[in-house]
């Protein structure tokens, strides 16, 4: 029997995903028509042995209950949401709920970060992990560019794929093999965590509570993985399939494109340039031209002569006649007027560099100006007819009265 744990963090995290995360918890933001972590759940349930999925985060249960119930019905597997009431870090939360994970004595469990999007090779990872007699943790690794690798956990391996050195976000170059935030863990990982926890406790009380936020606070990467490196208990399986973090709103469009290629649904409601996902409940005029890389959510209305590419249209939004939407996210219940243009700038990785990842750039550049990025309309935003909205972010429920360029509209 196997289990899976998905770490989704909480509302105080994921601020770079605003304003999309103002309406909906980031882990539930639809990528290729499905909530981000539904892709994780779908991957876990493909392994028949995976009997329970635990989602750990600090979102309130009311924000998560509906989703959890829907998923249980859909995938017929036990799914539970475990709420952390105090932010305990990536390791602290996991350790806190160790009894829930150990219950039923699974042979191993998958640990998945909620903010990644990938073609999860869980079966291969589990087999890889089982082959290594001493393995406690196996990390899914991927190649990054030399320059970008320092933004991730960097790993050095020996000939038998054991991790000999692990550094989280180093200041200087260490290795181009990076941690994807996807793991297979044996249950004795909790003994390693107990030691790390004890060390933390000692440090906390000898320091009079100064410095550390909470005695239970623990970083999975720094307090668990880094010490395990060089002990022949930590392994990494390198994959070359597609993988990306979903940190900024811009990365949602990039992730959407790749997920669409993995799980594409084709519709012949209008002219489609693949890949496109259109929810069956959406109304799309036959003269619209949609794609590539477009997801259209439930209850969306697309009128005559509309052009949409490289965008995500969330539920119940309305896109009126002759308008154009590209490199944008249109929020729930938002409306785009006729002959309007909603345009963003793609923030994809450099296609000319092999192994390049998303550059999750800050909102503003060094001149204090908005970095060109995708255009985002928050929920209920109204864009009037014949206007242009270029590289802008509109917070929810704003009714615009004119065109905007390179602005955040509160």
């Amino acid at each position: 029997m196997l289990k899976a744990v998905i770490l989704i963090g909480g509302p105080q995290k994921g601020t770079r995903f605003r304003p999309l995360s103002l309406d909906i918890p980031k882990p539930l933001f639809p990528i290729a028509g499905l909530p981000l972590i539904q892709h994780h759940i779908a991957a876990c349930t493909k392994l028949g042995e995976c009997k329970e999925i635990l989602i750990i985060g600090s979102y309130t249960t009311t924000q998560m209950t509906q989703f959890v119930n829907d998923m249980q019905k859909l995938y017929r597997v036990i799914i539970r949401y475990l709420q952390e009431f105090t932010p305990l870090g990536t390791g602290g939360g996991l350790y806190h709920f160790r009894d829930q994970i150990r219950a039923g004595n699974p042979s191993a469990f998958f640990l998945l970060n909620g903010d990644v999007c990938a073609d999860f090779p869980l079966r291969e990872m589990y087999e890889f992990h089982e082959e290594k007699p001493n393995a406690i943790v196996t990390i899914m690794g991927t190649e990054a560019t030399r320059q970008q690798s320092v933004h991730y956990g960097c790993m050095v391996r020996n000939g038998s794929n054991a991790v000999t050195h692990y550094v989280e976000k180093p200041n200087s170059y260490v290795s181009t093999l990076i941690n994807c935030g996807v793991y297979v863990c044996s249950l004795n990982v909790f003994q390693v965590m107990a030691e790390a926890f004890q060390k933390k406790q000692d440090g906390f009380y000898s320091g009079n509570g100064q410095g550390t936020p909470h005695p239970g606070y623990m970083s999975w990467e720094q307090d668990v993985l880094a010490p395990l490196a060089g002990t022949n208990k930590l392994y990494s399986m390198q994959v070359s399939s597609w993988w990306s973090q979903v940190k900024t709103a811009g990365s949602a469009i990039y992730a959407n494109r790749h997920c669409l290629t993995l799980h594409c649904t084709r519709d012949d409601v209008c002219q489609i340039i693949p890949d496109v996902y259109i929810h069956p409940s959406a109304t799309v005029d036959s003269t619209a031209v949609i794609g590539p890389n477009v997801s259209i959510g439930t209850g969306v209305t697309i009128k005559a002569g509309v052009r949409i590419k490289e965008s995500i249209i969330l539920e119940n939004a309305t896109v009126n006649e002759h308008s154009l939407i590209m490199y944008s996210v249109v929020g729930r219940e938002a409306s785009v007027g006729e002959w309007s243009r909603v345009e963003g700038t793609p923030s994809d990785p450099d296609p000319n560099k092999p192994f390049a990842k998303m550059d999750n750039r800050p909102l503003f550049n060094t001149d204090g100006r908005l970095n060109p990025s995708i255009t985002i309309l928050g929920a209920g935003v109204v864009v009037p007819a014949e206007t242009i909205l270029l590289n802008s972010i509109v917070l929810p429920h704003k009714h615009l009265a004119r065109s905007f360029k390179h602005e955040i509209i509160l």
């Binding site: 005559a304 002569g305 052009r307 002759h322 154009l324 002959w339 243009r341 014949e386 242009i388």
Partner: protein
């Protein structure tokens, strides 16, 4: 007053066509400015037709550049109007007065006054009234003046209650007058004695001296006036012209489904379904506007194509250019001849030179070589 019209038949007119028309580039890279169609008719033809209407029988064009092209095209059009067209070629640019000296022989064959026009001016040409007014005051010359909102940008004309001009003041800082020279004159042949055959400015080197001698009068223009020598003013002038057309000859305006406000459409143009055209749009011969396009305050020149769902505001689309599907163009964008704007682009204030194909958006005003 009887018989005034008869005497007008003797009157000649000189139109200062002049230079390269650089201000109306990129259109003038393909076609001399006087031949650029304003409201579906070459700018110059608006003036010639008005002159013919006022009884003018001989039009002299003072040209210094691309004369052959103009001669070829205009001779044919003008012959239908029953007026003779003479070209006076400048070998070097002679300014605004020099061309009169060059055409001295033609202009001094009779003692009747002659009209002089700057070629960029569009208005409700008041040539009959001008002839009458000139005859009444009996002095050497009459300048047509027009009212402007911001006189400090121009040279203003100061005159008394009888219309006799006292002085010209360049760019006045304090308000003195809101009347400026409208670029249309009626002059007696005697004025030619004040002009030499050299580059010379009529505004600076002739009129001030005539005013000093009490020989120059001003006549106030009624209705709109615009110097259409640059794209922004070309479009503003078109709006004023169409408004005036609504009042005077509203049957020349086009009407139909999806037409908003004052619009003229050549009968050979094709307009698709679900379009919204207007207000203030001119659509030239053989133009194709495909389904679902929206065009406002723009001129689409002969043979151009505006493809599906495009949105245009404040644009001049040059001859045989193609504006792609879902393109948005605005803010005084001017496409030269045979330009292609690819689908889904945004062009903001772009000035695009002829025969160019654009594959990238132009988000800020820019010249595309």
């Amino acid at each position: 007053m009887c018989g005034t019209d008869k005497k007008l038949e003797e009157i000649r007119a000189l139109i200062l066509v002049g230079g390269y028309g650089t201000r109306l580039r990129p259109l003038t890279l393909s076609r001399p400015k006087p031949l650029v169609e304003f409201a579906n008719k070459p700018i110059l033809m608006h003036q010639i037709e008005a002159l013919v209407e006022a009884g003018v029988t001989q039009v002299i064009l003072a040209v210094s550049y691309r004369a052959e092209e103009m001669e070829k095209e205009l001779t044919e059009q003008v012959s239908k109007l029953g007026v003779s067209l003479t070209f006076s070629h400048e070998t070097e640019p002679l300014g605004t007065a020099g061309p009169l000296a060059l055409a001295r022989e033609l202009l001094s064959t009779s003692s009747e006054p002659f009209f002089v026009l700057n070629s960029d001016v569009i208005c409700e040409f008041p040539f009959k009234e001008l002839a009458r007014y000139h005859k009444n005051h009996g002095k050497e010359g009459t300048i047509v003046v027009t009212k402007v909102e911001e006189p400090s940008k121009y040279g203003v004309v100061v005159y008394d209650d009888n219309g006799q001009i006292e002085s010209f003041i360049e760019k006045p800082q304090e308000f003195i007058s809101n009347k400026i020279n409208a670029g249309m004159y009626l002059l007696n042949p005697s004025v030619l004695s004040r002009i030499e055959l050299r580059p010379m400015s009529i505004e600076k080197e002739v009129f001030p001296f005539m005013a000093k001698d009490g020989e120059l009068h001003a006549m106030e223009l009624q209705g709109f006036w615009m110097d259409v020598g640059q794209p922004k003013d070309f479009l503003t002038g078109m709006c004023l012209y169409l408004t005036s057309l609504r009042q005077k000859n509203s049957n020349e305006l086009y009407d139909g489904t999806g037409i908003v406000g004052n619009v003229i459409v050549d009968p050979t143009a094709k307009i698709g379904k679900g379009c919204r055209i207007g207000p203030n749009v001119t659509i030239g011969p053989d133009v194709v506007v495909e389904d679902g396009a929206c065009i406002k305050r723009s001129t689409i020149l002969r043979g151009a194509c505006v493809r599906q769902h495009a949105w245009l505001d404040g644009c001049i689309v040059g001859w045989r250019s193609v504006v792609g599907r879902w393109v948005r163009m605005e803010n005084c964008t001017v496409l030269g001849e045979d330009v292609i704007v690819k689908d889904e682009l945004y062009v903001n204030g772009g000035q695009v030179l002829p025969h160019k194909s654009i594959a990238l958006s132009v988000p800020e005003p820019q010249i595309i070589m």
